[in-house]
């Protein structure tokens, strides 16, 4: 295109030259005259190109390279802008990635959106199966950890007790062997199991002859009839599927979870209606004052897994909250870039004025600035994506591994930055480029050419940007404040979690779990284990407890002797722990009153209990709790209190809870934690001792979740870990961005006042007074920004309410943020102010 125009114009010149020569001029004169007639060759070419229309592509390219070169000339502002954009875009990319994975991806099964989960209880399943017509099949399952043994060492696996037709409903096919046959899940039928790919590889080394072999699940033998393909880990991360009659409410486990596949032409609402009709028919009529039975709820299967079906969409809201925050950070970044663009545009005001006078359209100039910005944003995008990749990798590596209590980490979650995420990022860049670039570009290319040509730099009054700049400062400070409040709140929460007041050193206390489900004669096993371990040389103390220090297994309603409770709800709730006599010695809980459990507290003798200080204070105020009695529920046996111990604070609760301890001998349990304190060797070595002791007593029993108590506590809430890491990153980014932003803006306004400052200095004002005057203008903006941010945070806390951690309302968080942000902003204002006052009066005056 360019070439064609050139060729045509050159032809014209040649013709004119020829004519001139024919009219008698010399060759040089002819050429000169010919060219002169064209006037400004460059601008003519440009105008022609512009008129031809297809020129826009050329223009774009030209703008790009020009913009690139211009940016390189101002490396300081370029780096600042790039850093800002990398941070903003990077963080938002991570959030897109998270949303993509957690909320938009679906199960790796055919037609997953037809899989619906319900809140139908498992015991009602046979009735529902008989009467329902809207589902292709209803399935129930119970999911838990089970002891597993095949040919190798026993291990602990995630197992799923499930109805026989579940594979049909899921439309999944086994890799080897077959699905369960109908009827194989009835109680009394032959026990069959299907293995996962991973289990097959680990236990059988992928031997294809696995079908027909026997495996032991919780002590009972099952025949292997199939192996699933590698990506099948239903429901989340399971290794084993056993056909079972789920309606029996598998002892001690949660009752099953019912879901099914909707028939092709059925709607969700139709299914819900039918299920509720059946449900009402099944219920006996309720008396008036009883709570109404909950309606059956239905929803997408994935919703049930994330808790959405039960109304607590915790993952969803947490993610959306984080997205909001990262968008705030991006806003900060854009504000920064807008300011930088404005600064650049102002410095080049003369250039734009001249180009305008020469005929460049305003649109062209605006495009030019936007194209330069696009270069910047593309750079930021590349940087941001890379940064996001790194940050993601780092975040995932910091998350606790998936094996423990936390089962929210589904196997089909693959956090990766793929095409969809990148596409979203590209759109984002486009939008934010417009946002950050358009306004400054429009302002800088306003038409008052004469005014602009008079001065080398534009005064802000000519641009009318003073208000905009003030707004930028205020909004940057407020946005940063909101983000920092969030970050500080989470950090504080993490602090609380670590604020564990344990009377022993958690880093040297070993904890190992043992589960005896399916083993006969439990009582003696644990007693013997207890004795064995305590007699092992090197062991300072060992004990067994029903709970670790990271989780309570629920509270029970209790009744204090001598008090009356008019309604059921009036019963106080307290958590219980079943322990061996050495427990208090092992965890260094000295007795405050009375005694610990002893040999005399056997099964069948008087039921006893030990309570903690809060229990005594709450339920037996002012008196010695020893000798008092209480019981569980409304008709259990009365426990006599024999001792009182101090409180143990753990799991970040700084609330003091009443706790009571029961002896293992009187309350046989199937799952216990071993707590062991040993001398001379690290806990990892002691865990082998425990394994050996367990194996000596019962060779088929696996131990699991061996760790130090510290590790147990650390692994507790990976959700908080992820959030706090990410928010920490956002908080740091926003602090940096706000500081840079304020710094830049104040520098800009100081630059614009250079000649004023010069005049004042020349007239005798001192540097200090100049600094004061700058501060007088800038500090109120900071102040307003802080105040606005504070109000905004408080409002958000009020609105979002329970979703946020309790620490969000702690005053120390706000005080800390105000100090930090206030201090940083002050610095960001002082430095340019002092620098601005140092200008030489003569130089400043020359700017006239």
């Amino acid at each position: 295109m360019k070439r064609e125009i050139d060729e045509e114009l050159r032809f014209h010149v040649e013709q004119r030259k020829a004519d001139n020569i024919a009219a008698g001029m010399s060759k040089e004169e002819a050429e000169r005259e010919a060219r002169k007639r064209f006037g400004n060759w460059q601008s003519l070419r440009e105008d022609c190109r512009e008129v031809r229309g297809i020129a826009w592509l050329d223009n774009l390219f030209q703008d790009f390279s020009f913009g690139f070169r211009i940016l390189l000339k101002q490396p300081g502002s370029l780096l600042a802008a790039l850093a800002a954009l990398t941070l903003g875009i990077g963080l938002v990319t991570i959030m897109f990635c998270a949303i993509n994975t957690l909320m938009l991806r679906s199960l790796p099964l055919p037609d997953p959106e037809r899989l619906i989960s319900t809140t139908v209880p498992a015991w009602a399943l046979p009735e529902f199966r008989k009467q329902q017509t809207t589902f292709e099949g209803l399935v129930s399952f119970g999911d838990f950890h089970a002891n597993f043994r095949s040919t190798g060492t026993p291990s602990r696996r995630e197992a799923c007790f499930i109805s026989a037709n579940f594979l049909d409903v899921l439309r999944a096919k086994p890799l080897l062997g077959r699905n369960f046959l109908p009827g194989e899940d009835a109680s009394g039928a032959e026990a069959v199991a299907i293995l996962s790919y991973k289990l097959w590889q680990e236990e059988f080394q992928g031997d294809r002859a696995v079908l027909g072999s026997t495996v032991w699940v919780e002590g009972s033998p099952k025949t292997v009839v199939g192996v699933m393909p590698v990506e099948f880990r239903f429901p989340i991360n399971d290794d084993l599927w056993v056909a079972a009659d789920v309606t029996q409410g598998i002892a001690n486990r949660d009752t099953g979870f019912v879901f099914g596949r909707l028939k092709p032409d059925v709607t969700l609402a139709g299914a819900r209606a039918e299920l509720n009709t059946i449900w009402t028919r099944l219920q006996p009529p309720r008396r008036n004052d009883e709570r109404p039975v909950e309606q059956i709820r239905v929803g997408a299967y994935v919703d049930a897994l994330t808790g959405a079906l039960y109304g607590k969409n915790t993952i969803g809201s947490a993610i959306l909250g984080m997205l909001l925050i990262t968008l705030f950070v991006l806003f900060l970044a854009c504000a920064n870039v807008a300011m930088l663009t404005l600064g650049r545009a102002i410095k080049r005001g003369r250039e734009f004025a001249i180009r305008g006078a020469l005929g460049a359209t305003r649109r062209r100039l605006v495009f030019q600035l936007l194209a330069e910005n696009l270069v910047l944003f593309s750079g930021g995008a590349v940087g941001g994506t890379l940064a996001a990749g790194f940050l993601l990798h780092w975040l995932l590596s910091r998350m606790p591994s998936d094996t423990t209590h936390w089962r929210l980490y589904a196997s089909w979650w693959h956090f990766e930055i793929d095409g969809q995420v990148l596409f979203l990022v590209a759109c984002l860049i486009f939008l934010t480029n417009l946002l950050a670039g358009l306004w400054p570009a429009l302002q800088a290319t306003k038409r008052d050419v004469n005014e602009l040509l008079k001065g080398e730099t534009l005064l802000s009054s000519h641009l009318g940007t003073a208000g905009f700049q003030r707004l930028l400062v205020i909004s940057q400070v407020s946005a940063a404040l909101v983000i920092l409040v969030g970050a500080f709140a989470l950090i504080r929460q993490r602090q609380h979690l670590n604020d564990v007041h344990l009377p022993f050193d958690p880093k040297t206390m070993l904890t190992v779990n043992v589960d005896l489900t399916g083993v006969a004669d439990v009582g003696r096993f644990f007693e013997e284990l207890d004795r064995d371990l305590n007699q092992t040389p090197g062991v300072e103390a060992a004990a067994l407890a029903s709970d670790g220090f990271a989780f309570w297994h629920g509270v029970r309603p209790i009744e204090i002797e001598g008090r009356s409770y008019p309604r059921e709800e009036d019963h106080p709730l307290a958590p219980a722990r079943v322990v061996t006599p050495d427990f208090f010695r092992t965890v260094n809980l000295g007795l405050l009153q009375g005694r610990s459990f002893g040999a005399g507290d056997r099964f069948g003798s008087e039921p006893v209990a030990v309570v903690n200080a809060t229990f005594a204070r709450q339920f037996f105020p002012q008196v010695n709790p020893v000798g008092r009695r209480f019981r569980e529920g409304t008709n259990g046996p009365w426990f006599t209190v024999v001792g009182c111990v101090p409180d143990v604070l753990s799991y970040g609760t700084n609330r003091r809870e009443p706790v009571y301890y029961l002896p293992l001998s009187q309350h046989p349990s199937t799952t216990m934690e071993v707590l062991l304190r040993g001398r001379g060797r690290p806990p990892s070595v002691w865990s082998k001792t425990v394994d050996a002791a367990v194996a000596r007593l019962h060779p088929d029993l696996p131990t699991f979740e061996a760790s130090t108590v510290q590790q147990e506590l650390d692994g507790v809430d990976a959700g908080i870990t992820a959030n706090s890491l990410l928010l920490g990153a956002c908080g740091t980014a926003s602090l940096f961005l706000a500081a840079v932003g304020v710094f830049g803006l104040i520098t800009l306004s100081v630059n614009q006042r250079t000649n004023e400052i010069g005049v004042r200095l020349a007239l005798g004002s001192t540097k200090a007074r100049v600094v004061m005057s700058i501060l007088k203008q800038a500090l109120p903006q900071i102040g307003i920004g802080l105040a606005t941010g504070l109000l905004l945070s408080l409002a958000l806390v009020r609105i979002l309410g329970s979703v946020l951690p309790a620490t969000a309302s702690e005053p120390v968080v706000y005080v800390g943020v105000l100090f930090l942000l206030g201090g940083v902003s002050l610095g960001a204002v002082l430095i340019p102010a002092v620098r601005g006052a140092r200008v030489e009066p003569m130089r400043a005056l020359r700017y006239e």
């Binding site: 064609e4 032809f11 014209h12 031809r52």
Partner: protein, 110 residues
């Protein structure tokens, strides 16, 4: 001489170009020469206005262009009038004559 550089409004330049091209296809230089000659050297078309005008009219579809060989065997771009251009020319002529009559009236009455 100031008269030889009479300022041509953009609209009138279009009119003149269209009229010139009615005679047949010619390249840009030839169009400028023709206008100058036909107007007795009064109207001199600036190169800076000629080509943008030509491209504009080409975009609008009033004229079309083709590369061809000039009289001295050089490559040149030849413009010719399209049907739309012909209609446009008639319209422009009508407008011009009305304006001309109006101006004459004003000059005679004052």
């Amino acid at each position: 001489m100031t008269t030889s550089k009479a300022e041509l409004l953009q609209g009138t330049l279009d009119l003149l170009i269209l009229k010139t091209l009615r005679a047949g296809p010619m390249h840009g230089y030839a169009v400028a020469q023709r206008i100058q000659q036909c107007s007795d050297d009064v109207l001199v078309v600036e190169e800076g206005s000629l080509y943008p005008a030509l491209y504009r009219m080409e975009e609008r579809g009033w004229i079309s262009a083709e590369w061809g060989k000039s009289e001295n065997n050089r490559r040149a771009r030849f413009y010719s009038l399209t049907r739309t251009g012909r209609k446009q020319l008639e319209q422009e002529v009508a407008i011009w004559e009305r304006v001309q009559r109006a101006i004459t009236l004003v000059l005679e009455t004052a």
